[in-house]
């Protein structure tokens, strides 16, 4: 419990987001292109951090589904930036041992001849420490 509080603080620090600014309008989730794939929805991320329920967030598949497309950040009427929270939780996970979501071993089977370099670079950045 105590460490969750600490983690919540860390998330706020990394993301620079103040979840208390949220008025719970749900526009982030309304706008999210990955909504269907997410178990915990963008607007819930804000509430979870507010309630310091980080454990569940770290296990959420949503971390790996968020595109960081900033649609939620751009359209949020309260300037809460839910996308940055999701990214901060993702970092929290990746900074732990074995937190990587992508291992070099799985790469060969994911490749195809057209893949642009930047896809690999980005994926590595996003999925691994």
């Amino acid at each position: 419990m105590k460490s969750e509080k600490k983690q919540a603080e860390k998330i706020k620090e990394i993301s620079g987001v103040n979840p208390l600014k949220c008025m719970k309008c749900g526009k982030c989730s309304a706008t999210c292109p990955s909504f269907a794939e997410m178990d915990i929805k963008p607007h819930q991320f804000v509430s979870y951090v507010q309630n310091e329920e980080i454990e569940e967030l770290t296990k959420s598949v949503s971390l790996w589904k968020c595109l960081s497309c900033f649609a939620c950040v751009e359209r949020c009427p309260r300037d809460v930036k839910p996308g940055k929270i999701i990214d901060a939780v993702r970092q929290l996970v990746e900074r732990e041992k074995d937190g990587d979501y992508l291992s070099p071993n799985e790469i060969p089977e994911l490749l195809d001849p057209e893949i642009p370099q930047q896809l690999l670079v980005s994926a590595f950045r996003r999925y691994r420490r």
Binding site: K65, V73, A88, P116, Q117, L119, S122, A123, R125
Partner: protein
């Protein structure tokens, strides 16, 4: 007019067309892209965490190179533009980041966001002018109905990218008009293609691109243009793919009569 130019990894490889046509067009339009020496990869995605410094340094180096030459920095790939523009903003406005970054880099003079970062399209719009561009067009793409695909990286967050109206952009539409074609406005042009997620979640990005291409086709587009190699890759992966996707520079070169048939 000379600009420092940052091509980025993909333009040296899978997206050579994007790069090649841009350089060729630039010389016709009266400006030069001078490639920054020994540039490093931008990392593909902007490091969002406020405590991530090292991952931003490659961008700072490039920016500082341009500063030393007293040139603006031009980018072409949407992802590179996004990353470099945001890092530049950090170096200008976020004390924690610029202090740490400068401490790491030990430059002769601290870098504080002095370089202006322009996307190639911004150069066309703000420095050359679409009217001027129109005058240089020798082979207008008359009759072509083109859907502009912006994606997310160029537009958002608008407070930093300051590229265009993030919800109703018009720079590519104006570009399309300038090269003599007709722009097709469709609602998904500023929605994400799925980006880097297509490596592991191929279906997700496929679904997203499906929506994009169908919407464009529904509104009557014959083709799509983009500035991003990743968008290009993802859009080309759709199941029902009928609509061709081009880099905007290719059509620009074509209109300027630089493309050999």
């Amino acid at each position: 007019m000379k600009y420092s130019y940052y091509p980025g990894c993909t333009l040296k490889n899978k997206a050579q067309a994007l790069d090649m046509y841009a350089r060729a067009s630039a010389s016709v339009l009266g400006f030069e892209l001078e490639e920054v020496s020994e540039w490093q990869c931008c990392g593909g995605v902007y490091p969002l965490g406020s405590d991530e410094i090292a991952t931003k340094l490659s961008s700072v180096r490039v920016l500082n190179e341009a500063k030393k030459k007293d040139q603006a920095l031009v980018t072409l790939c949407s992802a590179c533009h996004h990353v470099i523009k945001r890092v530049n903003d950090d170096m200008k406005n976020v004390p924690d980041i610029y202090q740490k970054a400068n401490r790491y880099l030990q430059l002769e003079e601290d870098y504080r966001g002095e370089t202006n970062v322009y996307h190639f399209l911004e150069v066309l719009r703000d420095q050359i002018g679409f009217d001027k561009l129109k005058e240089k067009v020798v082979k207008p793409l008359t009759g072509k109905k083109i859907g502009a695909y912006y994606g997310c990286l160029l537009l958002r967050p608008s407070s930093i990218l300051a590229f265009d109206n993030p919800e109703n952009p018009k720079i590519l539409e104006d570009f399309i008009r300038a090269i003599g074609a007709e722009p097709v406005i469709y609602p998904y042009r500023n929605e994400c293609c799925g980006g880097y997620i297509s490596l592991k979640e191929k279906d997700m990005s496929k679904n997203m691109c499906e929506k994009i291409t169908q919407s464009a086709e529904g509104f009557g587009a014959d083709m799509l243009i983009t500035a991003c190699p990743l968008c290009m890759y993802n859009l080309n992966k759709t199941e029902s793919k009928k609509i061709p996707v081009y880099y905007f520079t290719e059509l620009l070169a074509e209109a300027l009569g630089l493309k050999e048939d």
